[in-house]
């Protein structure tokens, strides 16, 4: 059975601007994802995680290696083939402000992807789906549905609308790029729960984050990226319990925890 996503020795290099040298965003990266499976990508800024997501969606041309999405080689796909592939995916990004059209109402913002892909004749069905989704996300209130995205919604509400917009077409693969980093702790848990429900229903997911705890909650398997290189791969909980690579170890050590003390350097302060 062909893997949903098959990446082999992927390298992405950006040419340098003016005096700067070229930047290698990803270096010989290999990973694979089966249908119904989820993967956490742990990385900080500069690790290449965003480049990886963009390469999967075909927005970035690889300089080397191969990337097959749903069995099709992304580098060789035509524009129409790419559009078909992208319609089977969806993305939730970090910033809910740029990912929603500000002039539409909440309901219209969620409907839009459906109307574009399936056409306007199926509007009734689309609306039903949208309302169900928003209800599930706690945004079923009539006033919220008809209010414009630009006004009055909080960051957490916006992110939930963005998730509804991503889920309305029932994507086979959901790509999440730090979807909770701008959210309050209370919304964070809710968002993870919603995503987990979809995973149980068979959706594949790639969850990019710098937070190891979230990575462990989002998926069983994970990889750790550092400066474009895959430094560790395996089960997320093993990264936390027994990190092997020095970078992973440093990451685990730096994580602030409520329950266990952080080994602070040279501070005489009481730790919890």
């Amino acid at each position: 059975m062909t893997a949903l996503l098959d990446i082999r020795d992927l390298t992405v290099t950006f040419p340098g601007r003016r005096r700067q040298e070229s930047v290698t965003a990803l270096s010989s990266l290999s990973l694979s994802l089966e249908k119904g499976e989820s993967l956490s990508i742990i990385g900080e800024s500069g690790s290449g995680k965003t480049t990886l997501i963009r390469a999967i969606l075909g927005h970035v041309q690889p300089s080397g290696g191969s990337l097959r999405l749903f069995g099709t080689d992304v580098t060789l796909a035509s524009d129409d083939e790419m559009t078909d592939l992208r319609r089977r995916c969806a993305m939730v990004s970090q910033d809910p402000y740029g990912s929603l059209p500000p002039t539409l109402t909440v309901l219209d913002a969620v409907l839009e992807p459906w109307l574009i892909v399936r056409g306007r004749d199926t509007r009734k069905e689309a609306e039903k789906r949208a309302r169900e989704l928003l209800e599930e996300l706690g945004l079923g209130d009539k006033d919220i549905l008809s209010s414009r995205v630009r006004l009055s919604l909080s960051g957490g509400q916006r992110q939930r609308v963005a998730i509804a917009r991503a889920l309305i077409l029932g994507p086979e693969l959901l790509l999440c790029d730090e979807p909770t980093s701008m959210q309050d702790a209370s919304t964070r848990g809710e968002i993870i729960r919603i995503l987990q429900r979809r995973q149980q229903a068979g959706m594949s997911m790639i969850f990019v984050t710098h937070d190891l705890f979230l990575a462990r909650k989002a998926a069983l398997r994970g990889i750790v990226l550092h400066r474009g290189v895959l430094v560790e791969e395996g089960l997320c909980r093993d990264f936390l319990a027994a990190p092997k690579h020095p970078y992973t170890r440093a990451l685990v050590a730096a994580l602030p925890r409520l329950g266990k003390p952080t080994p602070a350097e040279g501070s005489g302060l009481p730790t919890i």
Binding site: E44, S45, S154, G155, D184, A185, S186, G189, H210, D211, F213, L214, R216, K217, R237, L240, A241, A250, L251, A253, A254, L255, P256, R257, L258, G259, K260, P261, T262, A264, E265, G266, S267, G268, L269, P270, T271, I272
Partner: protein
């Protein structure tokens, strides 16, 4: 010591329709900042924590209703006139505001930024500032060679440290930090927190750290305040709060966070 007593803040918001709606940002909050210690004020967005911070150096917008007292070594900052407050700002109470790392002027070097502060507030000449700049950078954990770089040439963490160096220019007794680690990598975050802890330990600076990241605030501070919807709902030793939160919201939050940190196996 900075002592905040019964602080209440109400913003006058001008809504789009020309009406006036008041928003209670802070309701009857009392807390203290001690020299040589790092205290943290945590809360969700909209809890009023940044407002409390900005009230201390008198940086709330005009027309805001403020009541209560903010005592700096006994003198009430809220009743001071603007010129008196100006002498206190930066010299005795320094601020690293939210998004400081993105607020540098892009056309001058970071070293020059510090030079200007030293010249304006302490009247130091260019020659005298040079040595001072290096020591400030060292305090903030920055390589002195970075002083000749422009802001866009530094990483996020380096810029944040430069902002801290700027704030420390006049050797203030108190440092107020508003979300100094947001948008930074975990490892960089840890570095900044370590630097701040060192400042309070070794230099005796009294630090108030405001953050929406509860685990971060709890692990950094020796005393933790938690705000929700404008009111103070928890205060005390972080370890105690984690073990026995009083407020139901805090309880739910702490439970959720602890559950996340536990190994699901």
């Amino acid at each position: 010591m900075i002592e905040i007593r019964n602080l209440s803040v109400t913003y006058s918001r001008m809504t789009g329709e020309g009406g006036n709606a008041s928003a209670d940002a802070v309701r009857d909050v009392s807390l203290a900042i001690e020299k040589g210690r790092l205290f943290a004020l945590a809360g969700e967005s909209g809890s009023g924590k940044s407002t409390v911070l900005m009230a201390i150096p008198g940086l709330l917008p005009r027309g805001t209703k403020i009541s209560g007292q903010i005592l700096l070594d006994g003198k009430d900052l809220l009743s001071m006139k603007e010129d008196e407050l100006n002498r206190i700002r930066w010299r005795r109470v320094a601020l690293v505001p939210q998004g400081a790392m993105n607020s540098f002027t892009p056309v001058i070097t970071v070293g020059r930024h510090v030079e200007e502060v030293l010249s304006v507030h302490l009247g130091l000449s260019k020659r005298d500032s040079a040595g001072r700049i290096l020591s400030l950078f060292a305090l903030a954990g920055l390589d002195g060679a970075l002083a000749s770089r422009y802001p866009h040439e530094l990483s996020g963490g380096q810029k944040q440290r430069a902002a801290i160096a700027l704030a420390l220019a006049c050797e203030p007794g108190y440092l107020l930090c508003d979300e100094p680690t947001t948008a930074l990598d975990v490892i960089t975050q840890q570095g900044i927190i370590t630097t701040l802890k060192r400042l309070s330990d070794e230099k005796g600076v009294g630090i108030l750290l405001v953050s929406h990241d509860l685990p971060l605030a709890a692990s950094a501070a020796s005393k933790l305040y938690i705000m929700k919807d404008g009111a103070l709902v928890e205060e005390g030793d972080p370890r105690t709060i984690a073990a026995h939160p009083r407020n139901p919201h805090t309880k739910a939050l702490v439970n959720a966070l602890l559950e996340l940190e536990e190994d699901p196996s």
